[in-house]
Each structure stands twice: as C-alpha cells, then as structure tokens.
C-alpha cells in the first residue's frame, strides 16, 4: 500500500498543487484546512507523513505539531513544513516542536516530492 500523507494548508490552491504533485507520485493524500482540522483528521486516521503550512487560522502549524507530538499514535510521524516564512526564529521553533524538514513557498512540486521521498525513505 502506498504511503499516506496529510497535507494541512489554509490555501486551496496550495493544497491543490501539493495534492497533484504527491498523488501523481503515488501517495494517498488527505487534506486539512487548518491546524484544528489537521488534528481532527489525525484523530480519525493514521499517516506516514504530514506536510503543513505554518500560518493558518484557528490553529497554526506549530501548535498543531506540539499537539500531535502529545498524541501517542502520532508521536513519531515526520513533519515537513511548507511555508512562506523563512524567518529563522520560526525555523528554530519548528525544529524544536519536532519538524523534520522545511520547504519555502514558492516551491517546486518536484522538490517537494524529493523531500517526501527522502523523509519516507524510498
């Protein structure tokens, strides 16, 4: 079975691009529109990887990661941040919260797929 990825972004167009890139690469994609929705999706299923935006309404990406690291089922899920921020303080916070990787928007869909492959070890 192909790996299952949760993508979290409040921008529909970014979600679409991510979905196109990753599902063409053969991954199963589930989408969430913000951190809150992301947690809800996490509660409902298992994922091999999470690709998330940072700055979102309702719950931001950092908070979501911190929450998810508290959930026994998802403690070890790798997380890639896909975000406009290139603020280093943010990166440090993200790394501290348990992020595995970082890709700055605008991104090249191919490089996203590469990073995902790398993280998933395929």
């Amino acid at each position: 079975m192909s790996a299952s990825i949760l993508t979290v972004d409040d921008s529909a167009s970014i979600r679409l691009t991510t979905r196109v890139a990753l599902s063409n690469a053969g991954y199963q994609i589930t989408e969430a529109v913000d951190g809150m929705d992301g947690i809800a999706k996490l509660n409902a299923g298992q994922f091999d990887l999470i690709v998330t935006d940072l700055n979102m309404p309702n719950m931001d990406g950092l908070t979501m990661i911190r929450e998810l690291r508290k959930m026994p089922a998802h403690m070890g899920v790798p997380v890639i941040f896909l975000t406009t921020e290139s603020d280093n303080e943010m990166k440090q916070q993200a790394k501290a919260a348990g992020a595995t990787g970082w890709l700055t928007k605008p991104f090249d869909p191919e490089s996203l797929v590469k990073i995902v492959r790398k993280v998933l070890g395929k």
């Binding site: 679409l16 691009t17 309404p57 290139s86 280093n88 790394k95 790398k118």
Partner: protein
C-alpha cells in the same frame, strides 16, 4: 485522475482572500485595536503572497509582501494601526485585485505610488524614537564557508534556497568553489561537488546564519567566522537621531493631509455571520455552470415526472400509480434540495457595501454609518449576482441624494452621522431587500415638477405617493440638480427597475420628508422553478405564479352580466379591477358557464384575472422565451406541461399594472 486548473483555483482563492482582507480592514477602521482583525488581515496578506508567488503572480507577491510586512509590524506592536494605514492598505488591496486579474498589465507606476503611500502611513504611525534603534543596527562581516554532502541533491536538498536565505540576511557576496569538480569522465550529474564561500555583512547575530542551515546541519560542513564588528558606532545616540529627524517631516506630511478625510468613520456592524462565512470556504467548490446544468436536468426530470403522473392518473394500473407517486415525491424533494444548493447567504453581497459606503463617505464628505441586518438570509446565487448592480445604484443614490451633509443634519436637529440600513429577510417565496436611510426623503414637489417637465405626467393628474415615487424609475429621470461623480446622470434608476422586473421582482418606495426614505425590493427566491397555478383560458393553458395568487373566486353568469361594461368585482367591501383574459387573448371560443376569478397581487396592488377553468397547481420549470418574443410583456416565460404542450407564464407585475391602469382610465372617464 483529473485536477482543476490551479491558476483558476488560485484566482477564486485570491478573490476570497481579498474580500477577507477588506472586511478585516473595515472592521479595523472602526476598532483600530482589534487584535483578531490585525491577525486576520496579516494572515490574508501572507497567504495571498505565498500562493501568488507559487503560481507565477510575481508582481502580486512582491507588492503584497510590502503590505504584509507593514501588518507584521502592526501585529508585533512595533507600529500602531492608524486610519491612514488602514486606508493605504485598502487602496493597496484594490491594486492587488488588479494584479490578480491582469498580471501582465503595466502596474509598476501604481504599485510604486501605493507603496510610497503605505510607507508614509507606516512612518507616520511610528511613535518617534521608540523603535528606531532597530533601524540602524550594528553590522558585522561574517565569512562563511560551507559544503553539503555529495548526495545532498539526490536526497532532495537544493542549495540555491539556502543561498537566497543568506542574501536576505544582509549584503552578501557569494563565490562558488568549483575546485572539487572532477573531470568529466568521473562526474556523476546527481552529485554535488560545489562548495561556497560567502561574505555577509549583516546586523543579524551568528545564530541567524546557523539557522539558515538548520535542516541540513547534521551532514554538512559549515564554518562561520566573524571578521569585524563593522559599525559599532551606530549604537551611539547621536548617530541614531539624525536619520529619525530627517525622516520625520517627510513622514508627517501625508498624514496631515489625509487627516481631515479620515475621521469620517464608517461604522459597520461587524457581521455576526463572520464565523459562518469563513467556515463556508471549507465546503466543496462547484463551478456555477455545473449547478445550472444540474438544475436544467432537474427541470427536465420534473417535466418528465409530470408526464408520468398524467399517464398514471389516466390508467387504472394501481402499481403504476404507486410508482408515479413515489417519483413525484422524490423529484419534489430533489427539486427542493437543488434549490438549497443554489442558495447563498447575502453576506457576500452586503459585504461589498461596507467598502462602497466607506469610499462614498470620503468622496462626499458626509459621515455615513452603514448598518446591515439579516445577512444570513439565503437567496439563489444567480439572483444575488444580478442584484448587485441595482443595489449599488440604490445605495449610491441614498448616500448622494438622500443623506445630508453633517452641517445640514445638525441644522435639522439630527445626529451628524447619516445612517443607511441594508436589510434582507425572507417572506413566503420572496426575499425582501430594503435600503433605508434617515436623510431628507424624496422631494415630492421636485419629482412632480420634473415629471411634468419631461412629459411623464399631465399637469393636473392626481397621483398617489406610490405612483409618484415610481416615476423616479422612469428612463431619463433624475432630480439631482448637480450631476456628481456618483449619481445624478439619470441613468441607473430605470436600469434598477428593469433588472428587478427581469427578476420578476417589485419595487416599493416609502418616503417621509425630512425623515428619510425606504426602498424595498421583493425578489422571488429562485428563478428556475416556481410553483404555479395552471389555468385554462379558451383552448390555451397558462401558468400564474402561485406566490402572487391571493384567492380564487367564482364569477357567476349573473355577476358576469352585471359587470359587463365595468370591470370591477366587489371583494369583501373593496373594489378590485379585473381583466378578462379571454378578451385580452382574443380566444374567440365560447366562455365556460362558470368562469373563475384569480386574484393576484404585487404587495399593495391587486387585480383579478378572469379565466375559464382552474386546473390546479403545477411545478413550473421556467423556460425563457425566444428573442423574437422578447418584447411580449404579458408573459414572463413558458413551461412544458406533462403532455408535452407549452403553457405561457403570465407576468404578474405587468398584468397588475395593466389592471390598475384600466381602473385609472375608468375613474378618469367618470
């Protein structure tokens, strides 16, 4: 698997974001300290920038970046939110829309002007001297040398963004060290052989540079050496003060200029449905034309179903009848669900008026408060689209002609701020949208004089208020003595009337001199399928929209004879004019012995229609009439009956007007 066009998705998203940003800015304008709105505006700008850059809208991304930066500073408390800033970003927002719509256009000059405006607003907002220190920081020259593992690129690391990030930190000289590149026969194209030497002059600490490499640090080699602390003197207070003072007069000026314009506060009640509105964007998005297509199919189904019902009704087959009843119930439910799908709340429609009123209050120098009510009222999507223009016109009219200037208002003993109330509510099968202002009201004498001058009314004719007010919707009618930018060109009100007519709606005007006026638009909830009353006149069958039907009466032969010559029936002590559809349609056949009167109304006016037979109610799928029949006023459309025949749909508004006219004629004749 097929995906929608991401650019199209981005455009839709951008339109939504811009709307969100605008709503946030307008709320901020009322309450400058609203932290949630500041965050929301920042987030909107942030997402717009990010997605814009993603899909090649570079000019948009670059431009939005500046607004985002300004709001980031507001968010972090470095700069207070001011009305000048909000106004500057509002103007910038319009420009962003242009950048989304025509990314290839020549926008540079406008961008520059708006950004200068924004900078002035930000600088003007800065409290002098407080946060300036950050602007003239000490700079350090770092020498950085780094190399990535040979397999870095194969593993998805791209060194170029790292270099870009270094460039963002300060002045940067980057030299690639290509010495490690092997000869061609040994070169593997996926390996990375280059390392980099970078000289970076930055005010950031060393840790900032380390952070650039945070995700690749584990496998790479990185040396950072601080060469010199370049401008330590910058910390001395003397150096700090000079640039501030130089900046200040420049910054203060534009604020002073715009200050008298700004205080016109547009207080708009924050939409209570905000949360709901933003929730709505989580829904599945379907192109409107697909909905229309589906609606057409449902329409066809309803027609086929009524044919089935007719067949089943005519046969003695009980099983067939049972199935037919099921199909009838299901298609009715399907129709209702379909209707709901097409319904959208008027929030969006009302939302744009906050901006309009904000702009108008600037343009006219009037202080205008916009209050909206019933934003969650839902109306068919296509109705909303077509209502936008007429409403804009009516609101402009209220701002321009209705409301007085603050001085005039004070003199009249009213509060200086004029008030426009925009409300929506559902009533039976109609949505009523009301635009109400507390201005000077419609000047009856002036309307009258103008109407007489342009030959619309005879000088001695008696007109009711309602009739008089309806004159303002005549083509070429305008009482404005001075044509302004906004209205008064005499085009518009007739267009409003035409649009509302086309929507099968009615306009009602109430006005009290000195107290204000109120214009109500009553629009049927949907355009595609209506409940109709099927009647027969002579050999032809016709549909009367059920929403307009008040009651049905029998017209006995005696009463028919008695009423010959005059066309009134007495209905519970009031006289109602009636039209003999047999005469109107020149049927030529013998009338049924017991004719019926269907009383229809458009709110305040009533008229009876004499028909031969009332067949019953009928789910009417409205089909537009061909261009050839465009001018036929008596009918608003056609429908296909169960047996495949075509029935025409009577235009209620027109018939009522005709009935009333006939009444007026007879009265005038004595």
């Amino acid at each position: 698997m097929s995906f929608p066009d991401p650019i199209a998705v981005f455009r839709t998203e951008a339109a939504e974001l811009l709307e969100q940003i605008e709503a946030g800015l307008l709320d901020l304008n009322v309450n400058l300290g609203d932290k949630d709105q500041i965050d929301a505006v920042f987030r909107g700008l942030h997402t717009l920038k990010g997605s814009g850059a993603m899909f090649g809208f570079e000019a948009l991304a670059a431009f939005t970046h500046h607004c985002e930066t300004a709001f980031d500073r507001v968010r972090k408390g470095e700069v207070p939110a001011t009305q000048a800033l909000v106004t500057a970003v509002l103007e910038a927002k319009d420009h962003m829309r242009a950048l989304v719509e025509t990314p290839a256009g020549d926008h540079e000059a406008t961008s520059e002007a708006l950004l200068a405006n924004l900078r002035a607003a930000v600088d003007g907002a800065k409290s002098p001297g407080v946060h300036q220190a950050a602007d003239v920081p000490a700079q350090t020259l770092f020498k950085i040398r780094f190399s990535l593992p040979q397999n870095a690129m194969a593993n998805g690391t791209n060194p170029l963004p790292l270099l870009d990030e270094l460039r963002e930190l300060g002045e940067c000289t980057i030299v690639a060290d290509r010495s490690a590149i092997p000869s061609l026969d040994l070169l593997s194209p996926t390996d990375l052989h280059i390392s980099w030497n970078v000289e970076l002059l930055t005010s950031q600490p060393r840790s900032a540079i380390e952070d650039v490499f945070i995700f690749v640090m584990d496998d790479m080699q990185l040396e950072i050496t601080a060469v010199q602390a370049a401008t330590a003197a910058a910390k001395s207070p003397e150096r700090q003060e000079t640039p501030i003072q130089a900046a200040e007069p420049v910054a203060a000026e534009p604020v002073a200029v715009s200050a008298p314009r700004v205080p016109a506060p547009v207080t708009a009640a924050p939409a209570p449905t905000d949360a709901k509105a933003s929730k709505a964007s989580e829904n599945v998005r379907v192109p409107a034309e697909k909905l229309d297509e589906l609606m057409d199919r449902v329409g066809e189904l309803v027609i086929a179903q009524s044919r089935l019902s007719q067949l089943a009704g005519g046969s003695g087959d009980l099983q067939l009848r049972a199935v037919s009843e099921d199909v009838e119930r299901l298609s009715g439910e399907l129709r209702d669900t379909m209707m709901v799908l097409r319904m959208v709340p008027v929030t969006q429609l009302f939302g744009r008026f906050r901006r309009l009123v904000h702009d108008l209050s600037h343009e006219t120098g009037k202080v205008i408060e916009l209050v909206t009510e019933g934003e969650s009222t839902e109306v068919d999507k296509s109705v909303i689209e077509r209502l936008a223009d007429p409403l804009v016109h009516l609101v402009r009219n209220s701002c321009d002609h209705g409301l007085e200037t603050p001085d005039e208002r004070r003199a009249a003993g009213k509060p200086p701020a004029g008030r426009i109330m925009l409300s929506a509510r559902q009533q039976a099968g109609e949505v009523i949208i009301t635009i109400k202002d507390d201005g000077r009201g419609i000047n009856r004498e002036r309307v009258r004089a103008k109407a007489e001058a342009s030959g619309l009314v005879q000088p001695n004719a008696t007109l009711s208020d309602q009739e008089l007010y309806q004159l303002i919707f005549q083509p070429g009618f305008s009482t404005a003595q001075q044509v302004t930018n906004l209205s008064g060109r005499g085009v518009g009100m007739d267009v409003v009337k035409r649009t509302i007519d086309a929507l099968r709606g009615t306009i009602n005007v109430i006005s009290h001199p000195g107290e204000g006026s109120e214009i109500s638009l009553a629009i049927p909830l949907t355009l595609a399928i209506i409940d109709g009353l099927l009647v027969r006149v002579g050999a032809g069958r016709y549909v009367i929209p059920l929403s307009a039907v008040e009651e049905c009466l029998e017209l006995s032969i005696e009463e028919d004879m008695r009423s010959r010559g005059r066309s009134f029936i007495s209905l519970r002590d009031s006289l109602v004019p009636f039209l003999r559809l047999r005469d109107l349609f020149r049927t030529g056949t013998k009338p049924d012995p017991f004719q019926k009167v269907v009383v229809i109304s458009t709110g305040s006016e009533r008229v009876g229609l004499v028909v031969d037979q009332i067949i019953g109610d009928h789910q009417t799928v409205i089909k537009a009439m061909s261009k050839l029949h465009h001018d036929v006023a008596t009918f608003s459309g056609a429908t296909i009956l169960g047996d495949g025949d075509v029935a025409l749909i009577l235009d209620v508004g027109h018939l009522v007007a005709e009935g009333q006219q006939q009444e007026a004629h007879l009265r005038a004749a004595g």
